[in-house]
């Protein structure tokens, strides 16, 4: 009897402990939802106060962004063009180089070369972004000034080029995974028809892996849009409504940094602008992230 009650006590204790641990683990996983809630909550809450003072139409159509001047204008357009131009330059570097590198690694490179080059390429995304900023401002810009005379010391071109190199691993590594997931027999069928490796790569493997490659591109775009330090250091911090990459301009992220460097009182309209800008940025990346998620899911499902 005594023995029995001991066992039931032990069983009960074990069941209780299991339930406790399950709850604790669930709460940990749930915390990620709380974080998203915190992000969205803060951004929306501060933006609401902002939009009570500035109309949404004004925010989207005014061509000037001078919130800290005596005669303030709150048009987000210059920040958006700045963001799009640097991202565009970055993609012109990262997409061709990243895709070619991925095709090469997946279809051409000998095993040893792949195993040694991949980690080195991944290191590109491990370098701190502030170091890339230094590199863009004090190495790439002087180099570009020799090629393009009259290039200003701060410009979107060098920032964009450096961001482009920085996001190569994001583009190449996911693309390569997608290409390697294409089954061997599909390639063999192509070879059996007499196709060369190049023809097989671009007519068979790349189309088969397209949704994975699209996901890789989207990840790269989302990184480039959100990149902060390189543009804050090398692109100059002045809003400029231009599509010319050789000009200095400001991105959404750089504006947030610029305001943070100053000493704006909490609750002022100037303070709220960074949250309105942040919300815009968040919505941009959210759209790309969701699109990327669905592409990634599709390429996992195909084979």
């Amino acid at each position: 009897m005594n023995q029995d009650s001991k066992i039931t006590f032990k069983t009960h204790f074990r069941r209780f402990r299991e339930r406790l641990i399950t709850t604790a683990l669930f709460l940990a996983a749930f915390s990620s939802i709380v974080i998203t809630g915190g992000i969205v909550g803060v951004l929306v809450f501060e933006s609401i106060s902002f939009f009570q003072n500035v109309s949404l139409i004004n925010f989207l159509t005014d061509r000037e962004w001078t919130p800290l001047f005596f005669n303030p204008h709150y048009g987000i357009l210059p920040l958006i063009t700045g963001t799009l131009v640097t991202t565009g330059v970055a993609l012109l570097v990262a997409i061709p180089l990243g895709t070619i590198a991925a095709v090469y690694l997946s279809e051409y490179a000998p095993h040893r070369l792949r195993e040694t080059t991949k980690p080195v390429l991944e290191l590109l995304s491990a370098v701190p972004t502030v170091v890339y900023g230094y590199f863009a401002l004090l190495f790439v810009t002087p180099l570009l000034q020799k090629i393009i005379p009259g290039l200003p010391g701060f410009n979107m071109l060098s920032a964009g080029l450096v961001i482009g190199v920085m996001i190569i691993p994001y583009v190449s590594s996911l693309s390569e995974d997608a290409m390697r997931a294409v089954p061997m027999h599909i390639r063999e069928a192509s070879y059996a028809m007499g196709a060369t490796r190049l023809q097989t790569s671009f007519n068979v493997v790349v189309p088969s892996a397209l949704s994975g490659i699209a996901a890789a591109y989207i990840l790269g775009i989302s990184r480039a849009i959100g990149e902060t330090m390189v543009v804050a250091i090398a692109a100059g911090m002045q809003p400029n409504l231009t599509w010319d990459p050789t000009k200095p301009a400001e991105t959404i992220t750089a504006y947030i940094v610029q305001v943070s460097l100053g000493d704006l009182p909490h609750g002022s309209l100037g303070y709220q602008t960074i949250f309105a800008a942040g919300l815009t940025l968040f919505l941009f990346t959210l759209i790309f992230n969701i699109a990327g998620h669905f592409f990634r899911k599709r390429f996992r499902e195909i084979y």
Partner: protein, 302 residues
């Protein structure tokens, strides 16, 4: 017949051409990395000395150093690790071993994937609104550590899940067969076998956090810090103190940003030296992560 031969020759040539182009595309990244390291080393080497490591920042570039910056980096990383590691591993275990297959789990998963793609500066805005002004933690080591901890949480979770997923189901079934509970299975089998992968993810996450400056600038961390926080270990009773948690701070990437954004070229040399220290730290951590992965892969064979 001759046409066919030239056709084949041309295709073979194109094939070879692409092999060369591919190799070159690959090398662009590698050479940029090399150029960056050499550029930093050439500029910064002359400033690297013992006194650079043990001096506070200063108005005079020759006297300025990174003492408060590297001490701050270590303290912030401590808070970051204590936030992200337990929370991340627990989330990973829940999602792989416990979570039922339902819509709520799906939401958590999509949410984590999305958090991984949120720009770091957005985390800074969240910290500014929530930690600094709502919870009144100030521009402190604690705020910075928590912010970076939340930032790298998705990295730790994903690494944990990937490591756990690699363990065959047969291992778990063997544990259940001898009467182990779910947690006993996790504690005695799943966790030890996935340790290598988890450790790799944690190191990579921390190396990302060490180089991160945008979210810390957003909470207003760019200040002149020429003192050290209260040391955690004291000489008198009770021998430890948590005052450092609420102390103002600076970290290496912010100190570097401060120097690089000054117009004087002499400060740029300091920035290069600080960048070199930062680069050595992050590259070493990544090297260690690769080695740990290799070590565990070699040791565990199913």
């Amino acid at each position: 017949m001759k046409d066919l031969k030239t056709l084949i020759a041309r295709r073979k040539f194109l094939d070879l051409l692409f092999a060369i182009v591919g190799l070159l595309a690959l090398m662009v990244g590698v050479f940029t990395l090399l150029a960056l390291i050499i550029d930093l080393a050439l500029d910064g080497m002359s400033r690297l000395s013992l006194s650079f490591f043990f001096s506070y920042p200063s108005r005079f570039p020759e006297e300025a150093g990174i003492l408060s910056a590297w001490v701050g980096t270590i303290l912030v990383m401590f808070v970051t690790a204590t936030t992200a590691v337990p929370l991340g591993i627990a989330s990973g275990i829940y999602l792989e071993e416990y979570a039922p297959k339902n819509w709520f789990t799906d939401i958590i998963e999509i949410n984590i994937a999305n958090l991984a793609g949120v720009p770091s500066i957005i985390y800074g805005l969240m910290a500014l609104g929530l930690f600094v002004y709502k919870l009144h933690l100030g521009q402190s080591v604690l705020t910075a550590g928590l912010t970076l901890g939340l930032l790298i949480l998705p990295i730790v979770i994903m690494a944990t899940r990937e490591a756990i997923r690699a363990i065959p189901t047969s291992i778990r079934e063997a544990a259940y067969a001898v009467g182990a509970t779910q947690w006993q299975t996790v504690q005695d089998h799943v966790l030890p076998y996935s340790l290598g992968g988890i450790l790799t993810g944690v190191i990579i996450g921390l190396s990302r956090a060490i180089g991160e400056s945008a979210p810390l600038l957003t909470i207003g961390a760019l200040t002149f810090i020429a003192f050290l926080p209260d040391p955690p270990l004291q000489t008198h009773f009770p021998f430890f103190s948590f005052e450092w948690l609420l102390s103002p701070f600076t970290v290496l990437p912010i100190q570097m940003f401060n120097w690089v954004s000054r117009p004087q070229a002499a400060f740029h040399l300091n920035a290069a030296a600080a960048g070199l220290v930062l680069l050595v730290m992050t590259l070493t951590m990544n090297g260690v992560a690769i080695y740990v992965r290799y070590l565990f892969r070699k040791r565990i064979q199913w």
